[in-house]
Symmetry: C2
Subunit: 228 residues, 2 copies
């Protein structure tokens, strides 16, 4: 298989018929050896993490497909730790769309003068640019349009899709007693720029989940759903 | 006079009849002894700068008042380096509204992956929170509303006012061969939260002005208009 891109937590290979194959690795992002979904560097490597992340991602993508959300998911191979997906174009050089149900992490680092950690937010959505060198800067709607990353229409579609997806994941997690604080998703498009689909993965590394007021480690979250 | 607040470049005193008196100082913001309007700390002190800034601010406020823009300006005393203004409430703990005609400064530090320094922008407006500790973080429209800093209506009024003001200043500067790249303004309200007026000052420290492709020092800009 031809390696297209070596990512922090996944490697991407060319597949057949405009598909791509994502190989899940055991690395997770973090700071000082501690898991941090907001971090830009690899924090630690945990044996079996790639497989657990793929299982959780597969569960969520199947749930979303059943709910009618367009995604890049085709199928998963749990023995090979790979997921076959539709090949999609990304916006600009990659965009992260974050829905926040409760204020924490970088939101508090920016706006801690105005809001308490853990305070409820009303489906607040924000966009950051994938740019490690510039610490994934926040960008406004007007900025996304000025930089020719999104059109007004794409922005509206993304806001709507992101909230829908976040609410589906939130509901699923809540059924098992988990409280979703925030979730960071990536999107691309196929065939037409307005034909937007969810890409990348959906695992503990994309979200902050709490249980009884305590942050749940992504390995613990993935293990929980694997053991069901 | 009762001192209400000691600022970086101005001290604020209580005036009569709900007015305040701004005393312009000779300090300007900067980094490593060099002027930088985006900096949060005092970079240097220049004798006579307070008086020059007050003169330029007075010129711009008078121009804006003639153009029908609501401002806090009442009058200036050039011998005392003071300006008497209407006492206004600020939004949250202070908000800066930036109109950018050309990309430079923090816009490039954030979005340099997508745009060249000096590239034209189409009346792009952004908001930052006045919070030295957190380096004046950028905040989106949804963020301003989630943090209860602005209502939707106030946001729209501010965007509109800021562009109008920026265009008036841009035109005035252009008449003298100066090219306005960006301008940072502050607003408050009197009597009713939607009765929004321009506050603070308008001098070289609020804007980046170029002449023949070179950044113009704020003292040079103030001196130029003083010598007219």
């Amino acid at each position: 298989m031809e390696l297209l891109y070596q990512g922090k937590t996944k490697d991407i290979y060319q597949g057949l018929n405009q598909s791509m194959i994502l190989k899940f690795k055991d690395d997770v992002t973090g700071t000082d050896g501690k898991f941090d979904p907001g971090a830009n560097q690899i924090g630690l490597s945990i044996e079996g993490m790639g497989n657990l992340n793929l299982r959780l991602t597969t569960l969520f993508f199947q749930l979303l497909n059943q709910s009618g959300i367009p995604t890049h998911f085709i199928d998963s191979n749990l023995n090979e730790n790979t997921m076959t997906v539709k090949s999609a174009s990304v916006f600009g050089k990659g965009l992260e769309v974050i829905t926040r149900f409760k204020a924490t992490g970088s939101f508090i680092r920016r706006y801690g003068e105005y809001i308490e950690d853990g305070a409820k937010l009303n489906n607040y959505v924000e966009f950051t640019l994938k740019d490690d060198k510039r610490q994934d800067p926040l960008v406004t709607k007007d900025g996304l349009i000025a930089l020719n990353i999104l059109t007004n229409k794409q922005y509206e579609i993304l806001i709507d899709l992101n909230i829908q997806i976040a609410q589906i994941i939130q509901k699923k997690l809540a059924e098992h007693g988990f409280d979703l604080y925030d979730i960071k998703l990536e999107f691309g498009y196929v065939n037409h720029p307005d034909n937007i689909i969810l890409i990348d993965e959906i695992s503990g590394g994309n979200m902050r989940v709490y249980k009884e007021g305590q942050l749940v480690d992504p390995i613990e979250l993935a293990q929980y759903f694997n053991d069901l």
